[in-house]
Subunit: 222 residues, 8 copies
C-alpha cells in the first residue's frame, strides 16, 4: 500500500493531515483525498502539479483549485463558515505572489481571516508605511520575500505581534534558490521574527492560523 | 558616539530595545544600560560575556545575572508582577540547557509564565510522552535541540499550538555548529513548526512572549 | 573497450558486480549484462532509465524489471530459492517509495527476506508504534526518509538491531536535494544508526543483506 | 534538574544509555554516572574532556579511563566476561588512532572482541593486502580514515562482511574538518559500505557490536 | 627577500600601495614602511595586530595608529591638507564600529572628507530617516552592517548616489562569519548598491575615495 | 492587485523603478509598463524572457528590445538626448557578452556614454594592455568575467577610477554557476574593486551611471 | 565584435588558443575557427554542443569531430605527424569515458602519444594491478574518476611519475556534481597527485602534453 | 603499535615515505624518523609544530629544520649532491612565504634545483613581467597565492611549461581559508594549470620534482 493516512491528526493538532502532493502519482494523491473524505475530514493539498490538478478536477469536480498557489481544497461541508482572527500577508515583490497564495489558501482552509498587501519591498519604504494602521492591527504578519529578504526586519520593528517570514526562491545568482533571504530572515535584527522553509507558504499560513485561532478562541470563550 | 538607542521601540513593539552585548566593550554595554534606565525603561541584555558581566555587576549591583544563560536583567520596577500565559520550554539534551536559560529569562523579563522539561530527546520517547497533558495545555511550545534536531517534528505532531524550534550548536562533525538541526527544523514534517537562528534562545522566547501576551490580553480584555 | 567487468567479485564479496546504469548507453549496459551471463553470474542493475529499460526488455525479455525502483534483475537460475533472514524496510512518507523499491529489490536479488511498512513518519507516532513487535523482530531495520529525516532517530531508540538510514531527495527548499535528512541521520541521537548516500536504496539493501545472511549462515551452520 | 536518564534503554536497545560528555559540567557528568549506577547499569561515557576526566577519577576511582580515546567506563560488575564476535578496526594513518580508540573501547564495553591494524592507507597497498586473511575472517570491518578517505572503498572490495566507515577530521585545507573523507565514504564504489558522523568512533563501534552480538547470539542459541 | 613593493602604483592608481599587515612579521611590516618612506610615499597599513602596532610605534613614533580600526598611517608630509568630497559612513549597529573605523581612516588618508552616523539599523527606521538630508547630500554612502545586512537596501532606495555595502562578521549562528549580510547585500533590491568583501572597510573607503576625488577634481578643474 | 509601482523613485533615486521581469506573467509585465507610461516615466525592464518579449512587442511596438541582453526599453520621449560621462565595459571572454549587453543597455537608458572591449582575458595580457589609454580615460571601468574572474584584479592595478566587477555564470564544474569568479572579485588584490551579484549586468551599469552622471553634473554645473 | 583571438599564444605557450565553445553561437564558434585558419594555426575546440557540431561540419567538412568527447579538431596540415611521449589515461568506470575522450583528443591534437585503460576502479584492485608495467612506463598518468574518486590515491602509490587527477560529475546525491571526487583528489594521500577542474579532461590532457613534450624534446635535443 | 612505515615506497615512487607530522605526538614522530633511518632512507617531515621540532632537535641534532616552512629534513648521507632541473617558485604576496618555504625545502630534499621570486601579484604586473626570461626558462613554475589567486592564470599565459598552483589560506572573509584562490585556480583560463590542496606546498614541490627529475634523467641518459 502507498499511504498510512493519519486520520487522528485532526484530534491532536486541530486540523487534518494536509496532503503534500509532490512526488505522488495523480492516483495516489486522489487515493489520499478519498480516504480523508471517507473519514469525514476536510481535504487540503499543497504543491499540486498540473497533472495532479487535472486528475483531481475529474475525480472531485467540487474541489476548489488555485493554479497560482498550486493548492487543492475540498472542505467536508459546503456551508459557509465564519472566519476568525486577522492575519496580514505582505509580499516584497510581484514574483512572491504564488507563495503568498499558498499561505492565503491555507488560512482560509483553516477558517482564519486574512488580508494581503503586495509589492511593498524596502526599496520604496513609503509603500509599506502607508499601511501602518493595518500592520498594527494584525494578530500575525506573514512576510513573503525573495532576493535580499529585508522586509521582515523592517516590519518586525513596526509591530507588536509575531512576524512569520517566508523566504522565496525569487532572484538569481547569489540568492541560491532562496538561501539568501532565508539567512537574512534568520538573522533579522528585529526580535519577534520566526522563519519557515524556502517557499513554505503553507507552513507560515498553518502556524499563523494556530496563533490566530488560539487568540480568537480565548476571546470567544470568555 | 557609539550607539543610537531606540527608546521608542517599547511603544511600537511592546518591549524596549534588548541589548545584544556581543562585540561591545563593557563600557559601551553599561552605557546603553544607563540610557535605557534614564528613559525609565526595562533593561535586558543577552550574550553577556564574563568581562561584561563583571563590569555590569559593579556598575549595577541590583541587576539580575544568569551566567548559564548569559543574560543581564535590570527591570525598572522592583515590585513583583503577575506573569501571564503558559509557555513550555523543552530540551532534547542536557547540553541544550544554556540556550534554554536564555529563552526562559526572556520570557520572565517580558512578563510571561514558563515551565521547562529537560533532556527528553527522541531516542527515549517515553520521556516525552509522559508529559503529554503538559504539552497539550501550553500556549506555545519552544523546543531546544542540537545534533539531529528531531524533537520539534515529534512535538509538532502532538499539539495544536505553535511550536518554535531552536537549533543549538551542540554536537560535532556534521552538525556544523548547528546547521544540521536547523535544517531538520526547517524541514519538520509537522506543519506548525517555525524556526529561529542557531542558539537564538532569545528570539524564540521573545516571539513566544508576543503570542502568549496576545492570547492573555484578549482573554483579559474580554 | 568500454568496461572491465569484475567477474571475480562474487568470490571475494559474496555477490557479483552490480551494474550502475547511469551514464551508460543502452548498448553498453546490455554488453555488461551479456558478459555476466556468459560467466554464469547473476545480473542486477540499478538506476536504469527508460531508454535502457526498453532496450534491455528487447534483448533480455526474461529479465525482471521494476520501473518504480528502476532496477533490472536477471538471475542465472530460474528455480525458486529460499530467502533467508528478516529485514524490515520503513518509509517516512509516500514519496520515499521509489527508493524503498530499490532497497527491496536488492534484498530479494541477494536472497534475503524483507517486509515493508510505508508512510509512518514521526508527525503521527502511533502509526509506527503499532508495529513495535515487527520492528523488534527484525535483523536489520532500513529507514527511508526525506525532509526532516527524523524517523531513524526514533526507530533507533526502539530496537536492538542495527538501523540503516537512507536519506531521500524528497522535499524542497532547504532539503537541498537530500542534504537535510542526510545530516539528520549522521547526527541521529540513537547510537546504532549508520547512513548511506542520498537515494542510495541499493547500498542500504546490499549491506543489510550482508548482515542478514551472516546471521542466517551462522544459524544454519550451527 | 539537568537530565532525564533513559534507564529503560537497556531493555529496548540492549545497552544502557551512553553519556555524551560534551557540553556537560563535571558535576552533571558525574550525576548521570551516579544514576546509572544506582539503577544497576553499566556506565560508558564518550568525549570526556580533561576536567571531566579528573573529576570522575576522584569520584569513581574504579572507573576505567582512556585519555587517548577520551572514554570513561564503569562496568557494574568487575567479574571478567567472555567477549563474543570478531570486529576488525583499521586505520589509514597514525592520526586516526584517537578515533579508533573510541571505537575499540566501545566494543569492549559492549562485550565484543576486536583486533586493530594501524596505518595501512592506500598509498602503500601491500601493507593492507598482507592482512587479507584477517580481513576476510571478520564479522564487521570498521575503517577509520581522514584526508582522502579512500581506504573503505578498497576494503569493501575485498570482504563479504559489512564495512562501517568512520571519517576523521585528520587533514587540512579542503578536508574541511572531515567533510572530504565523509563524502568519499558516502560515495564509496564498493557496495557494502555504510558511514557514520565525522570522528564518530563510538557510533561505528556500537553498531558493529549490535551486528557481532546478533551473529554470535544466533550462533550460541542454536 | 620578503617583498617587492610596488612603488609605481601611486602613478598608476592615484595612491601608493597600502600594506596588508596580516601574515607579516613586525619586522617585515616595518621593512615595507621603510621602503615606502625612502621612496617619498605615504604609508598606510591595515589589519595591524597588537605586536605589529607595538613594534611600529617604536620604529615610527610619529605614525598615527588607531587600535579600534587596526590601522597605521604615516603620511609623508605633516602639513595639514584640505580634504575634498563628502562621503557618509553609516553603521547598522555598535559592533560594526571597528570596520567603520577602517573605512574612515582610509578616507582621511586618501584626502577625502567623511561623516559617520552610528547604530541606525532598520529595526528602528526613524533613527535613519531623521538624517535624510545628510544622506541625500553625500557623494557616496558607505553602509557597514552585520547580521541581516538589510540597511543598504533601505538606504539605496533613499539616495541618488552610489551605495557601497560592507558586510561585517557581527552576529552568530547562521550569519556564518558575515556570509549572511554579504548575500543580502549582493541581492539588495535597490539598484545602486555594490559590495565588498566581509569586514573589508578598507576597500569600501578606498573605492569611495576614488569616486569622491573624481567628482571633486572635475569640480575643481572646471 | 499584482504590483505597487514606486512612481516616486525617480525623484528620490534619479531614475524610475526598473522592471525585474523574472517571475512575472507577460500581462503583469505589460501592466507595470502601462503604469509607468501613464505616470510619464521612462520604462526599462531586465531579464525579459521570450514570451514576455513577444507580448511586449505586440503591446508596445515602439519599445526597444535587445534579445541578447534580454532588455526592454521604452523611453518617454523619442527625442535624441546627449549622453554624458565615459564608462568602459570589458569582458574576459565571448560568453560574457549577454551580461555585458545588459550593462550597456542600462547605461544608455540612463543617459550615459559607454564603450566596450570584448574577450581580453588575462591568459593573453597583450590584448588588454594595448587598450591602456582607453582604460585610463574612463570614469568607471566595468569588468564582466566568468571562470577564474581574474580580470578585475589586473584592471584595478592599471587605473585610478573605480572598477565594478560582474561575475558571470560562464564556466563549468567548480565555477558553481558564478560563485568562483564572485569570490575572486570579492578578494581582488587591487583595492578599488567593488562587486555585484552573479550575472547582474544591470546593477553594475546602474551604479556606474550614478557615478558618471555625478561626475558630469558637477562638471556641467561648475 | 565578439572575439579577440590570441594569435600570439602559440609562440608563448607552445600551442594555439583552444576554443571553449560553451556559450558561443555556432556562427561565433565558426568565426574563431576561421581566424585561426587564416593565421595558419591549428584549431582545436572543446565542449562543442550538437548545434555547433552540425554547423562546423557544414562549414569545415574536413574538421575531425568526436561526439563522445565533444571536441572539434582542424589541424592546419593534413600530413601525418610523429607523436612523442607516453601518457596513460585511466578511468575508474565506464561513465567517465566522455571526459577521457576529451583528454585523449587533446593529447593527439598536441602531438602526444597516449594509451587508455578503462573501468579499473578500486573495488576490484586486480583489474588495475595487472597493468602495473604499463603504469610504471608512463611519463604521466591521468586518472579520470567520479563518485569516491579514490583511484588516483592508489595509482599515485604505484608510480614514480606525476599523476593528474580529473574528477567527473558521474554519481548522484552527495557527489554534488563532482565535488566529492574533487575533494578526494585534492586530499590524496599519495604525494605526486595534482588536480584539475571537474570534468576538465582538456586541462589534464593539455598539461600532460606539456610535460611529455618537454621530456621528449630534451630527449631529442640531446 | 602506532605506525606501519612504507619502507618500500622509495622503490615504487622514487622517494621514501614523507612524514605528515600533524596529529602525531613528538614521540611517534621521532619513532617514524628512527625507522626510516634504520632502513637507510632519507627522512623528510612536513607540518612540524613547535613541540615536535624541539623534541626532534634533541633526538636528531643533525636534522635540518626550517621553522618558517615547518619542515624537518634528515638526509641519509651528508655528502653534497648535485641538484638537477630548474623549478621556479613564485608568490603573489609576502604572506605566502611559509607555504613557499615548504615547497622549496621539498624540492631540495628531492634533489631538484629551485629559484624563488616573491610578492609579484597581479595588481602590479610590471613586477612579474620583468622576470619573463626566468619564467620562460623553467621546467615547472609553481605559483603560491592566496586571496584572489589570480597569479597562476596570468603566468600560465606566459610560459610553455606546466604551472602548479598552490592556493594559500592568506586573506579574510570570503577567502574562506583558501577556498577562494583554490576555485580561481581550478578555473584558471590558462590551460596548463593544475592545482593542489590549500597550503599544500609540499605536494606542489613533490610533483614538480617528479617532472624535473624525469626531464633531467632523460637528458642525462641520452
Ligand atoms: N507544502 C508543504 N510543505 C511542507 N510540508 C507539507 C506541505 N504540505 C503538506 N505537508 C506535510 O507533509 C506531510 C505529509 O507528507 P506525506 O506523508 O508524504 O504525504 C503532512 O504531515 C503535512 O503536514
Ligand atoms: N560520541 C557520541 N556521538 C554521538 N552520540 C553519542 C555519543 N556518545 C553518546 N551519544 C548518544 O548521546 C545521547 C545522550 O545525549 P545527552 O542526553 O545529551 O547526554 C545518547 O542517546 C547516546 O546514545
Ligand atoms: N536585473 C536585475 N537585477 C536585480 N534587480 C533588478 C533587476 N532589474 C530590476 N531590478 C530591481 O527590482 C526591483 C523591482 O522588483 P519587482 O517589484 O519584483 O518588480 C526594482 O527595485 C529594481 O531596481
Ligand atoms: N574545456 C575547457 N576547459 C577550460 N578551459 C578551456 C577549455 N577549452 C578551452 N579553454 C580555454 O578557454 C579559453 C578561451 O575562452 P574564450 O575566450 O571564451 O573562447 C582559452 O584560453 C582556452 O585555454
Ligand atoms: Mg516591485
Ligand atoms: Mg540525554
Ligand atoms: Mg504521510
Ligand atoms: Mg602512514
Ligand atoms: Mg543598536
Ligand atoms: Mg577568448
Ligand atoms: Mg565498472
Ligand atoms: Mg605585495
Amino acid at each position: 500500500d502507498f499511504a498510512t493516512v493519519d486520520l487522528h491528526r485532526r484530534d491532536r493538532c486541530g486540523y487534518p493531515e494536509v496532503i503534500f502532493a509532490e512526488g505522488k502519482t495523480p492516483e495516489w494523491t486522489a487515493g489520499v483525498v478519498e480516504r480523508l473524505r471517507q473519514a469525514g475530514q476536510d481535504c487540503f493539498a499543497t504543491r499540486v502539479n498540473d497533472d495532479q490538478a487535472a486528475y483531481l478536477a475529474t475525480r472531485f469536480p467540487d474541489g476548489i483549485q488555485d493554479r497560482i498557489g498550486r493548492t487543492f481544497w475540498y472542505p467536508q461541508s459546503t456551508e459557509p463558515r465564519t472566519l476568525v482572527g486577522n492575519v496580514l500577508v505582505l509580499t516584497a515583490g510581484t514574483g512572491d505572489l504564488p507563495v503568498a497564495h499558498e499561505t492565503l489558501n491555507t488560512l482560509t482552509a483553516m477558517g482564519v481571516q486574512s488580508q494581503r498587501i503586495v509589492d511593498v519591498g524596502v526599496a520604496g519604504l513609503h509603500r509599506l508605511l502607508r499601511h501602518l494602521p493595518t500592520l498594527q492591527s494584525a494578530d500575525v504578519v506573514i512576510v513573503v520575500a525573495g532576493m535580499d529578504g529585508a522586509l521582515p526586519s523592517v516590519v518586525g520593528g513596526l509591530v507588536d505581534c509575531p512576524v512569520i517570514a517566508v523566504p522565496t526562491s525569487v532572484g538569481y545568482g547569489t540568492t541560491f534558490g532562496g538561501v539568501a533571504p532565508l539567512l537574512t530572515m534568520l538573522n533579522a535584527c528585529s526580535a519577534g521574527v520566526v522563519t519557515v522553509n524556502i517557499d513554505a507558504g503553507f507552513k507560515a499560513g498553518y502556524t499563523a492560523a494556530l496563533i490566530a485561532r488560539r487568540v480568537a478562541k480565548r476571546n470567544v470563550s470568555e
